[in-house]
Amino acid sequence: MGQEELKLLQGTLDLLVLKSLIFGPRHGYAVARWIRETSDEALQVEEGALYTSLHRMEKRGWIEAEWGVSDNNRRAKYYGLSKSGRKQLAASERTWTRYAEAVFKILGAEARA
């Protein structure tokens, strides 16, 4: 904690959600929790927006939903990456990394000057 909360950059949410599913199907709650914990609670995402992202990507066919049973034996909707979702993830990751590298380069250059 202690750190300032970061607002999410436009278009990043889908990427994060896709990434969260790379280790296998998860339900929405797990995705939210994973993003919160993995980013050390630095990223604040409204969970409503997260679900919106999930459903939107399901409509696009990037992820596929299926009802399953959670660890504590409750019915939950699990999302998994589809083939096109995987492709999308790879592409977004590449773009995002190149983008971030470029930004870092510029920031680094400024520090050297």
Binding site: G28, E47, G48, Y51, R74, R75
Partner: protein
């Protein structure tokens, strides 16, 4: 592979069908439960945890709405995609199937194409005649057409669609009508010298265009002021005439078209396609008043018995048509009170019928036949459907095992039926496409041959025919495919899986047999109809017309407009006829007031010793005034007494020649010569009968009517209708020579219309010829289709029963026995259809009576002929399958399984 696809699909559809809202609720519910548990486990109170969970989630209401919308879209999208995928897959499957069995495909497509094509063709015709309102008419439902109907004293009904000028005037005053208009279409001459030509003119009263709500494309249309006596003569050109004669030149306005007494000033052009409310083309529209001027017949305005105008009205909004009819009838009867008192038109009443001529009581024989043919084409389609259904059933039988496996693997029946229906729809689609070609060709044929006088617009395949064909194709595809699809999807699974290909003999489908029998029965009905119509045509063609029209020409002479005495008119014609008779190829010539099948007159007639004429004389007796040599020219035999000579002139004793029907009707066995007729009045001097002629058909080609002839010089009431010339050789060449001579015969002659008399008579037979031709074509089509169907089913059956037949012959069945078995089946099925068909035909053929002539609707010759034909066809269809069955080698057949 497709089965596994099917399985997967089944489940996906199931998940998609779940309610979106419940799913969403459950998902979010789970989320909140988990969050709460986590927070409470971390030490929060219930209420604090709830608040925190809500904070983390954000605006729940808004998100829920968004999510639900997204989900709904997703589900819809998925359903469409799925449906499309299934259709694409099924269509692909159907197309592959068609490629695999080109023979089967060709048979089905051809059968459907003929069935649908026949209907598309007839629809194009019926649509024009009965369905489409006339072009450019505003709110055509409110426009009605007058006709009068009642009974002659003979009890025979009459229907007039022409009415008197007085009726037109009277009805204008009626409360029921917003507006009333009258018109008369006839040929007239326009232009001068070499520019001269016959055009079709519409003489229409002042309100004609405003009543119909037509707008001009150029200038203005004629109005009431143009139709007043003394108004300058004007004309409105039809669009086609304007294009043809004036190249669409807008400066035509104000030009004078030579015609009538003073020429007509062009004031406007009617819109393209406007031909009034009839079906014939009109070149030029002229105010009705000009008709009286041009034809010098002012007295026509007064004559209640001159029926020469067609009259239409626009109903006042909200007026009940039956009330309007009552009012019109009352005015009509009041107007002819005197005639009714004299016993004419005693029960006359007015009918207001739809604006489409052919829908009303004045429908032509041609349209009556067209309606019949449309019905017949539907029967052809039914047969085609039955046939295709049968072929599909046979194919489904071949695929029984495959279908059983797929059902066992869990494909739903719905999907299977869908797949099989797609199959028949694709086949129907191809059939429909070919049908359009047939309709384009057939429509052209029917137009030129059946209804040459109708002004057809556009191609026989227009957008309405397209829509009709598409709809019919869809229905046909479903109708032909539904039964086979349902049947195929309901096999007894275990039986089909266990049996080999040879199985299923027991279920050799009652449906298929029923379809075969139905096909046979329907084609019997069509063939009986065709037979009756053809026999009628034979009868009609053998009618003794009482004249020999071959090589007789009819020459109608139009004089330069001028005031002339009767004597002058007679002299002009006499001179012209002399010149014609001087031509070496002309043998005889004469003239008359009336023209057979075109114009004639009925005058009141009194016979001393009789109170009134017998009812059988009505309509009639017809009077015709003729020149000497008339009977010889027309080829009408004089059976008793003499014809007219030059001596029978105005100063001589008044004489008459009667036809046999009239002579027998009036005087029975007595000698008619020297009997007295009193024409028009009881006080009139006697006109003495000097001769009897054969019954010449006057106006009704079906029956002889009472007719008597008087010398033209003793009775000029009718004027001179036409000159008649009997010549040698080709009638067209003769006509050309006569026309040339006539045009130079006299400066008073403005124009001569010369045509073979046969041309006037032929249209009277046209509907019989056409009915017979088309009925026969459709009947044969049905027979061929039914025969092919029988052949296909038998052949298929034999191929399915190879094993059984092998067993039979192995057990000692002779070849003859096997052939007999197949032939028995063929003839048995046909005989069943034949019996049903004949029974239905006996019950239904009565309806055909209006288009028959002197043939009983139960003509034994026709029924017997059809029965024999059908059995012969059955034998022919059975021969090849029977031969194939006989050739089955028992050893091979038994080893093959």
């Amino acid at each position: 592979m497709s089965t596994i696809d099917g399985l997967r699909r089944v489940f996906r559809i199931a998940s998609v069908r779940r309610d979106v809202k419940t799913d969403l609720e459950e998902e979010l519910d789970f989320h909140f439960q988990m969050t709460l548990e986590e927070l409470v486990a971390g030490g929060m109170s219930q209420s604090a945890a709830r608040a925190e969970a809500n904070r983390r989630f954000g605006d729940l209401k808004k998100y829920k709405k968004d999510l639900e919308r997204t989900d709904r879209r997703r589900v819809t999208q998925a359903r469409w995609a799925e449906a499309l995928r299934i259709v694409r897959q099924d269509v692909g499957y159907a197309l592959r199937g068609m490629r695999h069995s080109p023979g089967f495909t060709a048979a089905v497509v051809a059968t459907l194409a003929l069935g649908i094509g026949a209907n598309a063709t007839m629809f194009g015709v019926v649509d024009r005649l009965l369905l489409q309102p006339p072009a450019h008419v505003k709110d055509p439902g409110q426009v009605r057409r007058f006709s009068s109907h009642g009974h002659w004293s003979s009890g025979r009904p009459f229907d007039f669609n022409y009415l008197a000028y007085g009726d037109f005037i009277d009805w204008q005053a009626a409360e029921s009508f917003e507006s009333v208009a009258a018109y008369n279409l006839r040929a007239t001459t326009l232009g001068l010298g070499t520019e001269m030509r016959r055009v079709s003119a519409g003489f229409a009263s002042g309100d004609f265009f405003s009543l119909l709500g037509v707008q001009p494309v150029l200038g203005r249309l004629s109005q009431r002021k143009d139709d007043l006596p003394g108004a300058p003569p004007v004309a409105v050109l039809s669009y086609g005439f304007w294009q043809r004669e004036f190249g669409g030149d807008p400066s035509v306005l104000g030009r004078v078209v030579e015609g009538g007494r003073q020429g007509y000033t062009v004031i406007g052009v009617a819109p393209q396609g406007f031909i009034g409310v009839e079906l014939e083309a009109v070149d030029i529209w002229i105010p009705l008043n000009s008709f009286f001027v041009e034809f010098g017949s002012e007295e026509r305005r007064e004559r209640r018995w001159a029926y020469w105008l067609k009259i239409i009205a626009r109903l006042r909004p909200g007026v009940d048509p039956s009330r309007a009819e009552t009012e019109a009838t009352l005015l009509h009867r009041t107007g002819r009170r005197e005639m009714i008192e004299q016993g004419f038109d005693a029960d006359v009443a007015i009918t207001l019928s739809p604006i489409q001529t052919e829908r009303g009581p004045s429908a032509s024989q041609e349209s009556l036949v067209a309606r019949w043919l449309a019905g017949v084409s539907l029967v052809v389609l039914l047969i085609a459907c039955a046939n295709v259904a049968n072929l599909l059933l046979a194919r489904a039988t071949r695929r029984r095992k495959e279908i059983a496996i797929r059902l066992a693997l869990g494909i739903s029946r719905r999907r299977l039926i869908g797949e099989l229906l797609t199959d028949s729809l694709v086949l129907a689609g191809f059939g429909g496409a070919v049908a359009l070609l047939i309709a384009a060709w057939g429509g052209e044929l029917v137009r030129t041959v059946l209804l040459p006088d109708v002004a057809w617009a556009g191609s026989p395949v227009d957008s309405r025919v397209l829509v009709f064909t598409a709809a019919l194709t869809l229905i046909t595809g479903l109708a032909a495919g539904l039964v086979p699809a349902i049947q195929a999807s309901r096999p007894s699974l275990s039986a089909d899986l266990k049996e080999g290909m040879r199985g299923g003999r027991a279920r050799r489908s009652g449906t298929r047999m029923a379809l075969l029998i139905a096909q046979g029965a329907l084609s019997v009905i069509l063939l009986v109809g065709a037979g009756l119509v053809v026999r009628s045509l034979q009868r009609v063609e053998s009618i003794d017309l009482g004249m020999v029209p071959e090589s007789v020409l009819l020459a109608r002479v139009e004089l330069e407009p001028a005031e002339r005495s009767d004597d002058e008119v007679i002299r002009i014609h006499e001179r012209a006829l002399e010149r014609l008779k001087a031509l070496p190829i002309v043998e005889e010539g004469s003239a008359s007031g009336g023209i057979p099948f075109m114009s004639g007159a009925i005058a009141e007639l009194f016979v001393p010793g009789l109170d009134s004429l017998p009812p059988s004389s009505r309509p009639g007796p017809w009077i015709d005034a003729v020149w000497p040599g008339y009977f010889a020219t027309m080829g009408t035999p004089i059976t008793h007494g003499r014809g007219f000579t030059d001596a029978d002139d105005a100063n001589a004793t008044r004489v008459a020649v009667v036809n046999e029907a009239m002579a027998r009707g009036l005087w029975r066995q007595e000698d008619p010569l020297g009997k007295c007729l009193q024409i028009e009045s009881r006080d009139a001097p006697c006109t003495y009968v000097v001769g009897v002629v054969a019954n010449r058909r006057i106006h009704d080609i079906m029956r002889p009517e009472w007719t008597y002839f008087v010398p033209l010089k003793q009775n000029f009431d009718l004027g001179i209708g036409a000159l008649f010339v009997r010549g040698r050789g080709d009638s067209q060449q003769l006509a050309a020579a006569v026309r040339r001579e006539l045009m130079v015969a006299d400066p008073n002659i403005r124009y001569g219309v010369v045509q073979p008399l046969q041309e006037v008579i032929d249209p009277k037979f046209r509907h019989f010829r056409l009915g017979a031709t088309m009925f026969t074509i459709f009947g044969l089509l049905a027979l061929v289709v039914a025969a092919l169907g029988l052949f296909a089913v038998l052949a298929f059956d034999i191929s399915q029963r190879t094993h059984e037949i092998g067993v039979r012959s192995a057990l000692g069945a002779s070849r003859q026995g096997i052939v007999g078995m197949v032939m028995r089946q063929a003839v048995g099925l046909t005989a069943a259809g034949l019996v049903i068909g004949l029974v239905v035909a006996v019950l239904a053929s009565r309806k055909l009576e209006p288009v028959l002539y002197e043939v009983s609707p139960r003509d034994p010759l026709v029924f017997g002929g059809v029965a024999v034909t059908l059995l012969l066809v059955a034998i022919a269809a059975g021969i090849i399958p029977a031969a194939r069955a006989a050739r089955v080698d028992p050893v091979k057949a038994l080893r093959s399984e």
